[in-house]
């Protein structure tokens, strides 16, 4: 079963990654990042059970906390950018270039 969980985790991770790459709405991009984090969490939990060790669950727990903090700050940034630039597209913020 462990293999299945891990493959599912990899699949979700890849889907989240593709989402980050193809979506332009900053909020959706953020959701995809969350999806990737969740995929990782699944792997952690799976490994915790595989090895009979609670550390994996602890890590997953911390990931959740960090993800929550990240979402708070990230969304605040999005709101701020949207307020000044009237846009939530990640492509619009492309001034830092060659």
């Amino acid at each position: 079963m462990t293999t299945h969980y891990l493959v599912l985790s990899a699949l979700l991770f890849a889907i989240g990654g593709v989402g980050v790459l193809v979506r332009r709405n900053a909020i959706v991009v953020f959701m995809c990042v969350e999806l990737m984090l969740n995929a990782c969490n699944l792997a952690f939990v799976t490994f915790a059970r595989q090895h009979g060790n609670l550390e994996g669950q602890i890590i997953a727990f911390f990931v959740m906390i960090v993800a929550a903090a990240e979402v708070v700050v990230g969304l605040a940034i999005i709101v701020t950018i949207f307020r000044t630039r009237r846009s939530a597209s990640v492509d619009d913020a492309n001034l830092l270039k060659y």
């Binding site: 990899a10 890849a14 969740n38 699944l42 009979g52 609670l54 911390f62 969304l75």
Partner: protein, 321 residues
Amino acid sequence: MGETITFWVLAVVSVVAALGLVFSRKAVYSALMLGVVMLSLAVLYAVQDAPFLAVVQIIVYTGAVMMLFLFVLMLVGVDSSDSLVETIRGQRFWAVVAGLGFAVLLAVGIGNAVIGDPAGLSGAVTADGGNVPALARLIFTRYVFAFEVTSALLITAALGAMVLAHRERSAPKATQKDLSRARFLGDHPTPLPGPGTYARHNAIDMPALLPDGSVSELSVNRVIARHDVEGGRLPDNPRLAQAIRNVASGSGGTSPSPKVVQAVAEEPGSPSRSEGLGEPEGGGRSEGFSEPEVLGDAEDKPKVAQTAGRAAEHPVEEEGK
């Protein structure tokens, strides 16, 4: 056996939902799809001897984080849908290649790995008398420092969010007197007609009739009107349908209340401040979110200039057509 069934059902559900998250045009759908994935994962956690995490997943992620997402979505404008036209050349193709390659590599790697039966967590948990006490022991003993640091992180994040999202008031708060004066100086001293006034329908998306029998475009919200137009849910009456189309396209009158607010807030020197977040306004307002061609792609600009130049060269032809 039960776990296998649960896994396969939830695996399919979560993968489909993840794909839906990526491919749905509307951000709200994406958010809901993400919720589905999170819930599925919560169940999978529960199945894998992690009841505490499953609950935290539901409470923190599905409950808090998802709500935050939805809230911000509503804040920055829910009425627009993301354009799916890719503007960076090759980005989509290579993204899919990279994603597939990554997934296949990982899957093959995991599939090739020799993995025995899971050890199970019962051994680790029994000493403390359950999953939660066992986790608690670890968090408050071995990982207590990380835990405390995380609390500092959360405090910082909260403060940061407040600082980032905070906006200084640049003009004195509009008093009732100011609002009233602005309303009388504006187009509509009277309250806007509600949909119920001389209503011919009991639906909120149907415009009201004015006492003289004409259709009041002011009585319909633009967002709702646009949904009707996009969904093809127009009434049979051509006058009503035209009014809804006018509202949706922004050519007709819109709800005047923003204008009133605008008139009040529009102090000289701070015009940009007047544009409230999430307040539906004139047509230019929506492009921030849907923005089909806003991207300053270097390739597009010359084309525009070319077209303009061509039009300037052959004005007669254009008129002749």
